[in-house]
Each structure stands twice: as C-alpha cells, then as structure tokens.
C-alpha cells in the first residue's frame, strides 16, 4: 500500500481558492432558485452540490493524495447516487 502522507502539503493559497469557489457556487445555487427551470430544477441543484462536495473531497479531505482504490470507491458512490436519483426521476418526470 502506498504511503505518500509525508509530502502532500497543499499551500494555503490553494485552500483559499477552493474556499472562494465554494462560496461562489453557494451563491449561484441560491440565485438559480429564482429562475424557473422546470424539470431541471433538482438536476441543477444536485449538480452544483456535487461539484462542491467533489472539491471538498479532493482538496480538503485529501482524496487527491490517497490511493487509487479509494478514489475509485468514492467515484463509484457518486455514480450510485446519480443512478438512484436518475431512476427516481423516471417516475417523477413521466408520471
């Protein structure tokens, strides 16, 4: 198993950039609720939330530096959640 824990210090500047992007995305996710998107409302909200949580996972939770197996497992969870939502909306969008 690879141990790369000693040399993956991320500069504070990068963290601040990620924080700024997260704040902007939060503002967008509030702002977008004022636009009538119909069937795409939930999709948009979940897309924005997914981008935000992916950034947190990659940078703040150091997934970027973890071994490939864990990266694949986390990716699989996102795919699984996406499929669950997709199937749920096969009911709501076609009812």
């Amino acid at each position: 198993m690879s141990h790369q824990s000693d040399n993956h210090t991320v500069p504070y500047k990068s963290y601040l950039w990620i924080l700024a992007i997260l704040i902007v995305l939060t503002i967008i996710s509030v702002g977008v609720t004022y636009i009538e998107l119909g069937n795409l409302t939930v999709f948009t909200a979940i897309l924005l939330a997914s981008v935000k949580s992916t950034l947190v996972l990659i940078y703040f939770m150091h997934l970027k530096f973890d071994n490939k197996l864990l990266q694949y497992l986390v990716a699989a969870i996102f795919i699984l959640l996406g499929l669950v939502l997709f199937i749920t909306f096969l009911d709501y969008n076609y009812r």
Binding site: L80, L90, D91, Y94, R95
Partner: protein, 537 residues
C-alpha cells in the same frame, strides 16, 4: 480432548468484573456475544408476537384479540424482527466474533466504536419499545410507517421512528468498522481473492450499511418533521407527495434486505465446502455476484411500489432491474449445488440447515420473480403471498443461515459440542413447522386473502388452520434447538480446534479463541477452501 494452549477470551481476567467485563469490553468476541444475547431475546419476543397473530387467524372473526391490538402486534413484530433482529443479525453476531479471526487480525479496526455501536443498538431498542408502555400504545402502521397514515395515527409513532433512526447509527458504525478492518487488517499474504467468502459478504454488506442507512435516517426524521411541524413533505393536503415517502423508504429498505441476506449467503458459503469436504465451486463467481447484488440491489426498490401510481417508465425499469438482480443470487445457488456435486458430505446439523436454506431460498426467490413481474404483481400485491415470499427469504433465508451459522461456529464460540441427534431433531421439526406455517400463505394470497387483515371469509379458514398449526410445530422445534444449545454451552463435550475439518483461519485457533486470537499473526499462503492440503501444513 481439548487442544487449547492459552486462556480463552472468556477466562481472561480484565480490569472489570462481572457484567461490566462484558458490557464495557472492547473485545470483538465479547461484543459479538452481547449482540447474540440481545438479538436472541428480541427474536423470541418477535416469535411470541408472530404466534399470537397466527392464533388470532385460527378462525374468522375475533379469536384472542381485538383488531387494534392485532394492528399493533403486526407492527411490533415487524419493527422488532427487522430493525432489532435480522438487520443486525449475522453481521453483528458472527461478523463481530469471526471477521477478525477469519482474516487473521487481533480485533476490528475500531474496537471502541464497536462497543459504542452495541450501546447505540441497546439505546435505540429501548426507545423503540418504550412506545409499548406509553398512553396511546405502540404504533399500528406496519413496520413500513407509510405516509400519510404514519403522521395521522394517534398511536406512539415518534418513539418507534426515533428508535429506528438511532438503530441506523449502530448499523453504520458496524459497516465502517468492517470495511476498514477488511481493507487494513488482513493477514500478510491474504490478498483480496484469498479472503474467505463470509468476510467478502460482510464487505458488501458494510457498503450497503454505510450508503443506504442514512437515507432511511433522513426519511424517518422527515416523518418526525411532518408530525411535529406539519411541514408537508408527504401530505397531499399540504402539497406533499406520499409516493415520495415510499421512494425514500424503499431506497433504504430494499438494500436492507441485502444487508440481511448477503452475510447469510456468506455463512452458507462457509458451511457447504466444510461439510462437502471440497473446495467451493466458482469462488470468484461467488465474490463477484456478492458485489453485483450489493450494487444492483440499490436500484430495484420500486418493485415494492408497483401499485402505488408510479409512472409506466419507472414500472418497466424497476421490473427489468428486479429480474436482473435475481441473476447473481442464482449464480450463488448454482455454485453451492455444484460444490455438493460428487462430494463426500458429512451429514451434521449445520449442513442440514444449509441444505434446507437452499430449498427455502429457492422457493422464496422464485416467488419473488412472480412478484417482480408487473402483471402478476397487480394480483398478488398486499396479499398473504407477499408475506409468504418475504418469510421464505428472510426467515427461511436469513433465519436458516443464522441457525446453520450458530450450529457451525458453536464449538468455536463456546468451546463445546452440542448433542448432534437433538440438533438434527430440532432442525427437522423446525423445518416441517416452517413449511407448514408459510406454504399455505402462498395459496391464501393467490386466492385473494389480503395481508395485515384481522378477519377473513370462511373459504380461507382451512389453510389458516394449517398455517397456525405450523406455527406451533415451529415453536416446538425452536424450543428443542434452544434447549440443546443452552445446555451444551456449559455441559457439552469439550470441542477441539477444528471439529468439522474447516479450512479457514478460525479453525486454526483455540476453541474458544484466546483474547488476541493468534499468538502470532498468520501468514496466508493458500486459498481459503483448499482441501487438497492438510490445514496444519
């Protein structure tokens, strides 16, 4: 004669005495036994409630209780059996006791969290059952807590729902513990494909526990919000959607069936090669089908809702996916049967349980196919057929595997043997009782008898009498089994390390194991079911 070399985990003197040496112990084996005693206690409570229900259905009209009591009893039976017995069941008892030993570790990755999960389980159980002793009585919604009735009934919904919510944390913590243990603590040489099948199924189960349980947690909190704050998630009068509740509930509760059945399949995959004295057929196919069940099992929840008013597109999709999820289960059954082909089989109690598991699981699985087809489902939905199918899978599948597991690992856990003839007699009576109890319910359901009904028309009387008699036979079998196991735990003949000739690592340690399981962490060089070599080589 015993061939023990160390003090067992039971004899080891820790810092605490008496009951505190158990309820505050972080030893995975003691925690497994704590779960066993708790789960058996709740199981017996659930059995008594089930027998009372069958007694009520002995004849049309009122027999021993009024309709409101009947509603409360079937709800309690479901809540206790699902949330307190079968969901924790095999993982919490045998997973805790055996997982570290089977992968060559001294304990789980987080022993204190392991103890915490048992305490959370007890706390959740107390909260859930407290509704029994409150004014208004226990809930009468059925274990599914369907909206909108769940927030309109005057019975004590909140304790039951909060109890189930708290129990979810116990499940999640156990899942995290097992996944980390399997990733990080396998013995040297134990690659993924040298790991025994029971730990593999615990691995699949762990992922379901972590990913699916939060969904039911949120859903149950939404019910609380609905009842206390009138938010309107599910109430059509407030703009909500009751079908949304069903989606959210079954997104967890269908994968939960796989939390129950996967470790059961794992236990059967251990018992069959040992008693066939033969390497398991298609090891990798069983591993991959375990992962396939854990994955595809997430996408079939809608088959519980075929009559709810979902869109046609969703109906077709869920029906197709339901047929697909049957494939990996069938792969396992073919592999188990192929393992038995031309084997030299030891006819002992654990094998009888495993063989009868195959029989009842097949009936349960094939009746599930009938329910997964859209047209037949319309006819069979909410009838006794569904109850029969469910009990063939969950009681017949998980229950029989649990019984098989406890008879298989009994010598390892207690260090003693049970009376083999009594064990076989108990199994036979239990099996006859089981079939007598549940087979008539297929016919009743097919003929149109609804489930959860307190009363029925005269034409359903005959099969209901047979079914009720079956419940008494089953109870007799259970009494014999319990008598044999409880007596043998202290008075049975002393067991050797490996009474059945198993090949996995737990059969290389003492019976019962020492506190740290192994004097030295073993180095694994062979596959877990290699029957060509002597295990001591």
């Amino acid at each position: 004669m015993s061939d023990r070399t160390n003090l067992s985990f039971r004899e080891e003197k820790g810092n605490r005495k008496g009951i505190f040496a158990w309820i505050l112990s972080t030893d995975h084996k003691r925690i497994g036994i704590l779960y066993l005693y708790s789960i058996v206690a709740f199981f017996l409570t659930g059995v008594v409630l089930g027998i009372l229900m069958k007694l009520e259905l002995l004849a049309p009209g009122k027999t021993v209780m009024d309709p409101a009591t009947y509603n409360a009893i079937f709800t309690l039976h479901g809540v206790i059996m699902i949330f307190l017995v079968v969901v924790p069941g095999l993982p919490a008892v045998f997973g805790n006791f055996l997982l570290p030993i089977m992968i060559g570790a001294k304990d789980v990755a987080f022993p204190k969290i392991n103890l915490l999960s048992w305490w959370i389980y007890v706390f959740g159980a107390i909260i859930a059952l407290s509704s029994l002793f409150m004014a208004g009585g226990p809930p009468d919604t059925g274990w599914t807590f369907y909206a909108p009735y769940a927030f309109k009934t005057n019975t004590n919904m909140l304790p039951a729902v909060l109890g189930a919510f708290i129990l979810g944390f116990s499940s999640i913590l156990t899942g995290i513990n097992f996944i980390v243990t399997i990733h990080r603590m396998r013995a040297p040489g134990m690659t993924w494909f040298k790991m025994p099948l029971f730990p593999w199924t615990l691995y699949g189960t762990g992922w379901i526990q972590i990913l699916a349980t939060p969904i039911v947690g949120i859903t149950l909190l939404m019910i609380v919000g609905e009842r206390v704050l009138n938010i309107g998630f599910f109430d059509p009068a407030l703009g909500g959607d009751p079908i949304l509740y069903q989606h959210l509930f079954w997104i967890y509760s269908h994968p939960a069936v796989y939390i129950m059945i996967l470790p059961a399949m794992g236990a059967i995959s251990e018992i069959i090669p040992t008693f066939a004295n033969k390497s398991i057929f298609g090891y990798k196919a069983i591993v991959l089908s375990t992962l396939a069940i854990a994955f595809v099992g997430y996408f079939v929840w809608g088959h519980h809702m075929f009559t709810s008013g979902m869109s046609g597109t969703a109906l077709y999709t869920f029906s197709l996916l339901t047929f697909i999820v049957a494939i990996p289960s069938a792969i396992k059954v073919f592999n188990w049967v192929s393992t038995l082909h031309k084997a030299s089989i030891q006819l002992e109690a654990p094998f009888f349980w495993a063989a009868s598991f195959l029989f009842v699981f097949m009936i349960g699985g094939l009746s599930g196919i009938a329910l997964g087809a859209l047209t037949t489902n319309i006819h069979l939905h909410d009838t006794a057929f569904v109850v029969a199918h469910f009990h063939f899978i969950v009681f017949g599948g998980v229950g029989f595997a649990f019984m098989g597991a406890i008879h298989y690992w009994f010598p390892k856990i207690w260090g003693r043997m049970y009376n083999a003839r009594l064990a076989t007699t108990g199994w036979m009576i239990f099996f006859i009782g089981f079939c007598t109890l549940y087979l008539p319910m297929f016919f009743l359901g097919f003929s149109g008898m609804p489930r959860r009904y307190y009363d029925y028309v005269e034409e359903f009387h005959g099969p209901n009498v047979v079914s009720t008699i079956g419940s008494w036979v089953l109870a007799l079998g259970l009494i014999i089994i319990l008598y044999n196991l409880i007596r043998s735990a202290t008075k049975g003949e002393v067991a050797t390390k490996n009474p059945w000739g198993g090949r996995t690592l737990e059969w290389t340690v003492d019976s019962p194991p020492s506190l740290e399981n192994f004097d030295e962490i073993p180095v694994v060089t062979r596959s877990p079911y290699d029957y060509r070599k002597n295990i001591d080589e």
